[in-house]
Subunit: 363 residues, 2 copies
DNA sequence: CTGAAAGCGCTTACAG
DNA sequence: CTGAAAGCGCTTACAG
């Protein structure tokens, strides 16, 4: 139509629209629309003619127009701190898969765990482009959430910050951390350390896992020694490696350590290896998340395995419900977890070892 | 407007549109549009009034409408086999970041490496929703690409399949594989194996890395023994673990192995550990990709490090150029790589070891 | 510097 | 079962 483009324009091959298909098939646009959208009341002959025309013209519906008309886009956003943190990468894969089953497309936001960016995401940087948001915040506060004005349906992954208006899908962090720590205590370890404490008020996960750790110490009759609780700036391998080094430098190093995620544990394992400390002989190590790396680590890593598949599936499900217009009170859904005991607390398997592939995805 | 919704409708709080803002600010919609889009010719006083109205009404532009009008969406798709394969996860993070610099949003497609799904992606499942596509295919053939009818701008990551119409951003695979293999040969290893060969014709990367491996053997004056070339079904840890086991079961096991990616190498390391084979003492191991896991593996992994940052950046750049209407001939861009020598070929570092954190992202 | 009006490509009541 | 027409919420020539 508008022939105002620069001279680079490929060809005069004008974009094919519904009307063109209708003209070629000799029907109204309504009928073409019906065929495209799979409505029932179209005679087979008409349908065939329309489909032939669609093929011949290579017509594709313009989704922006459809979205504008229908008031929805079929796109949801997944906002995570970093896409290449294995836990979030696995989650992303599962969310994309679960969304696809509902014909939803996933758009990705990376917040870097930065509060300002998380506020933007909560406030709807993509307002009207996305129909819903699955959000795993790191630094967002309850106040931020309460101040939210955007009304895009949202489901939060992770701890429930305050009692805001959003659905949450979570793991029972306190219980899971207690189980992991208790497992270490039952190995006969007396000085069980923790790696992963965090100061800032928004660090809900860290707080809950720390609480579970402390409950377990009490239950096992072990003294709580704050010197054995190592704070970290972030939850990457490097933080775990450094924290482990600090713990080893103490006069009374631990004989077990519960790391608040697997990445921290993998970093800790590396430090232990470099220092020549035997795992689990000298120090037993447990993590949290059950990322695939842990199944191939040296030694393989004992960890809390949340049901990530269900986490993703439930999140998409709750979101779809809200998107469909249901407006129940904010819900909090718990997904199951289990403790997976591997070599880092149970010793190396006798050779020949079980094929670690059996623990991985078969794909 | 249409008050036809079911009784669940939250409130009569009608969606705020441009017109409402214009009315409140006492200007025309054109002026509001100018303010929203940051055009220059608006008096400061007017701008302030409009901005106040936007805040008061909590107005957000409807992106679908804007897209429809402008003929573009500002959204690009990234299609990869699996989001939780570390290499693709790292790439995804970098692509999302690079896209953001250009105000582009990234939507993710997972193909599972399945040809049918890859054909769909190439044919534009999201036609008109996305302005462009960055695509890392696994099973797609040159014929598939030649048959492509969708004209969404596309940039391919990985090997150039045939000489189709698409831009490619690639690593010099043959050279890189040759360097890695030569490194092993220069350690004095005589029986250098390869893990990662693949049969199917679309496996361009496998073919090129195998070629580089063979070139290096010839250059080093080593005999080519096809029994030392291990094929794999996929490029996951489990495949590497199994392939390594097969190589070890031979009468004449290798004293070095070049794995076509890091995941295969990590699986191989696990098998070697279980079998009590010393790395690099008995067998030196090298990989390809430089994923973060390799920096914390036991031992740390020697690998070819492609400049992933540049890979992502260039891909987005080429795509943006095509999206802007430039239609040069298909381009093939090579990004640099380097061989990173670590413990798996160079032995363990003397204690105290360098902090592995220094090798990781600092974040 | 601002206003009034057309139109992007669909879907959807409303008629027939 | 199908047609003609309105309208989703923007942006953009076109006037002034």
């Amino acid at each position: 139509m508008a022939d105002t483009g620069p001279d680079l324009e490929p060809e005069d091959r004008r974009r094919v629209v519904l009307k063109d298909v209708a003209a070629l098939a000799g029907v109204s646009v309504k009928t073409v629309s019906n065929v495209v959208n799979g409505y029932v009341h179209v005679t087979p002959a008409t349908r065939a003619r329309v489909e032939a025309a669609i093929r011949e013209l290579n017509y594709r519906p313009n989704l922006s127009a459809r979205n504008l008309r229908q008031g929805r886009s079929g796109v949801i956003a997944l906002a995570v701190p970093e896409l290449d943190i294995p836990y979030f990468a696995e989650l992303a894969r599962l969310v994309v898969a679960a969304a696809e089953e509902r014909s939803l497309t996933v758009l990705v936001d990376q917040t870097g765990g930065d509060r300002a960016r998380e506020q933007l995401v909560a406030e709807g940087i993509r307002a009207h482009l996305i129909d819903g948001l699955i959000f795993s915040p790191l630094a967002l506060t309850g106040e931020d959430l309460a101040a939210r004005t955007d009304d895009t349906p949202m489901v939060l992954l992770g701890e429930r910050i305050h009692h805001g208006p959003a659905d949450h899908v979570v793991v029972r962090n306190v219980e899971a951390a207690r189980e992991a720590t208790l497992h270490l205590a039952r190995l006969g370890r007396r000085r069980v350390a923790a790696i992963g404490a965090q100061d800032h008020p928004a660090a809900g996960t860290a707080r809950l896992r720390l609480a579970g750790y402390r409950e377990a110490l009490a239950a096992a009759g072990l003294p709580a020694d704050d010197g054995l609780v190592a704070p970290v700036a972030a939850y990457h391998r490097a933080d775990g490696a450094r924290a482990m080094a600090r713990l080893l430098d103490r006069a009374d190093p631990p004989d077990a350590v519960f790391c608040f995620n697997d990445l921290l544990a993998l970093g800790a394992l590396r430090t232990l290896l470099e220092r020549g400390v035997d795992v689990p002989g000298d120090i037993a190590v447990a993590g949290f998340d059950d990322i695939e790396d842990g199944r191939y680590a040296t030694p393989t890593l004992t960890t809390v395995a949340p049901d990530k598949e269900q986490l993703a599936r439930r999140a998409v499900e709750l979101l779809a419900e809200r998107m469909a217009g249901a407006a129940p009170a904010a819900r909090e859904i718990h997904v199951p977890h289990r403790l997976v005991v591997r070599e880092s607390t149970a010793g190396r398997p006798a050779r020949p070892a079980p094929d670690p592939a059996a623990a991985g995805r078969t794909s």
